[in-house]
Amino acid sequence: MFLRILDRLEEILIASLIAAATLVIFAAVVQRYALGVPFLYQLVYHINLTWAQELCVYMFVWMAKFGAAYGVRTGIHVGVDVAVNMLEPGPRKKVVLFGLLCGALFTFVVGTMGAKFVIELYPTDQVSPDMEMPRWIIFLCVPLGSYLMCFRFLQVAWAFWRTGELPHHDPGHVEGVVESPAAARDVAR
């Protein structure tokens, strides 16, 4: 139950961040050009969007950290699997587990470094240049995202240990091509 909520939150967070970042930059560009149009100028001149780029960057940094954790669950982080797949099933299982645990180790180390970094930043009053947001809030995504990613690696490793299955991402998935026989008839006429 808790896991389901966590999964959902993760998905909602990253999907909203990419949508919001797109809208922010779109709004900033539209506003910049609206300033050049006399009758729109009155409407938009008091809106200040100079912080848009900075906000966009930070939203994407957050999206990257949590999306990387989500990516472990969907199996999108690919590696070089040629050599591993040539091994016998027994050794292969060990090597794959080793890889997953290395992932957990690395993300744990990064998460801990991030946590230390945030704790050191917290008492300072460093703020970001445009939005003047406290820097420690911005960097909070590093420990949170990395620990979540570490948890995902352990989850995947546990599932692999028990069932021998890894999450798999299909790079060639395209919506709307299932009805290809009909489409083929259209082209063939």
Partner: protein, 441 residues
């Protein structure tokens, strides 16, 4: 010595099949921990600030734009447009496949998705018309890779990101700036058109020799209608290129505008997608972008280690002393990148190799734009050459053919691509002419 340890460790970790991003990060951490006294805090800061740049954010925006238009409906419109233009020539459907692949791949930004979208629609149609299945599978597996070279291209953004800010000196000792996204996009246009034409010529020749069927010539009305249907998708390319060239947008802004435009076209103009499908597209795009951004973070860390160990400088000095010229150097680069293309996906290869190759290439007098285009073309060929090209795998899935049979099927086009690669390598003007004419050099 240190460079041998670093690369040995990286390769050993990568061979276990762990994600490339993790292998990069772990190499850096363990090397610094064991071998040096570089404060870990300096590295930690890189981990947090590595992707804090507005330029990099073009990547998620372009992925989002591409995903909105990666749909069977868009593929069908591109196919209809292409076959109404050139379907009545020899090998008409094959030529249409080349053009449709080029257009769809440029818009969607994904080679494997192009192979699936165009292939699963066109391949049954070609078989029905009496083309051998091998012919169709060969055309589509190779043409699907065209999109990397035709802007907007994520690989080119990554080349610019990976080399941006690094110091490189030309043979006279003057500092040379790395290629920008805008320069690379413009430079890719001409080689992209040339490669599409060459693949088309190979298709035409094979079809003419074997007397494959032609389509009835489309009437003017049909052609106009097909053009009107496809033009909304194609405009995306012109918004990006035109916006960047006229200076209306920065590349990242152009990417964001194209994402909004793609959303409007997919949901309100083409209506392939319902508003309720949008969250799914957002999530898939966030997933893909986060993966690439995560590789970038760790690649930044890795190139920080390279720089602090002076490895690119040492390699540059070594190559200069050994008297190797740019001709031999680029030959080695091509072989190296093609080999890497067998085992890794394009974004990782570019992010790892570009920071090393860039200073060496510049010191031999190679233009950074030329190097960028050459790397991009290598990524393209790497996707379709055996034994492990991703396009081959995807195509073998939709054509239900084995990899070996498909490899035989693709060889005429693969040889064409290799000839093209040699041309791009040794005729720098192919990449430099258009940016120079546009005054961007």
């Amino acid at each position: 010595m240190n460079s041998a340890i670093i690369f040995g460790l990286l390769i050993a970790l990568m061979l276990t099949g762990m994600p490339i991003s993790i292998a990069l990060g772990l190499t850096v951490l363990s090397f610094l921990f064991v071998m040096t006294s570089v404060p870990i805090e300096a590295v930690a800061l890189k981990l947090f600030t590595g992707i804090e740049s507005f330029e990099i954010m073009a990547v998620p925006f372009f992925i989002l734009a591409g995903n909105f238009l990666t749909h069977g409906g868009v593929a069908r419109r591109m196919i209809a447009f292409a076959s109404s233009m050139i379907g009545h020539w020899y090998g008409g459907l094959g030529l249409a496949a080349v053009v449709a692949c080029a257009l769809f791949a440029a818009i969607s930004g994904s080679s494997p998705a192009t192979v699936v979208a165009i292939g699963s629609i066109l391949l049954p149609a070609m078989v029905k018309h009496g083309y051998p299945k091998r012919f169709g599978a060969g055309v589509i597996a190779t043409s699907g890779a065209l999109g990397i070279l035709i802007p907007p291209s994520i690989v080119m953004v990554l080349v610019a990101v990976a080399t941006g800010g690094s110091v490189a000196l030309d043979p006279e000792g003057k500092r040379v700036l790395s290629a920008s996204v805008a320069q690379l996009f413009m430079a890719g246009v001409l080689p992209g058109l040339i490669l599409a034409t060459m693949l088309g010529m190979t298709t035409f020749y094979r079809a003419w020799k074997n007397n494959y069927p032609r389509m009835p010539k489309a009437s003017w009305l049909e052609a106009v209608r097909a053009f009107r249907d496809s033009v909304w998708g194609l405009l995306l390319i012109f918004i990006v290129l035109g916006g960047i060239y006229t200076g209306a947008f920065t590349p990242t802004e152009a990417a964001a505008m194209s994402a909004v435009y793609a959303f409007v076209v997919a949901v309100f103009v083409y209506r392939d997608m319902k508003l309720t499908d949008v969250p799914k597209v957002l999530l898939a795009s966030a997933n893909m972008s986060a993966m690439i951004l995560y590789i970038i973070t760790n690649a930044v860390l890795f190139s920080f280690l390279m720089t602090s160990e002076q490895i690119p400088q040492a390699m540059t000095a070594w190559i200069k002393d050994s008297g190797i010229g740019w001709v031999e150097f680029l030959l080695v680069v091509n072989v190296l990148l093609l080999l890497a293309g067998n085992v890794m996906e394009p974004s990782s290869i570019v992010l790892i190799t570009a920071p090393i190759l860039f200073p060496i290439a510049v010191s031999l007098g190679i233009n950074p734009i030329h190097l960028g285009i050459l790397m991009t073309v290598n990524m393209e060929v790497g996707l379709c050459h055996p034994p492990v090209g991703l396009n081959l795998y995807v195509a073998s899935g939709i054509a239900r053919m084995g990899i070996t049979e498909l490899t035989i099927a693709t060889w005429p086009w693969l040889v064409t691509m290799l000839i093209f690669l040699a041309m791009v390598t040794y005729i720098p003007e192919m990449s430099l002419w258009l940016p120079r004419v546009l005054g961007m050099l």
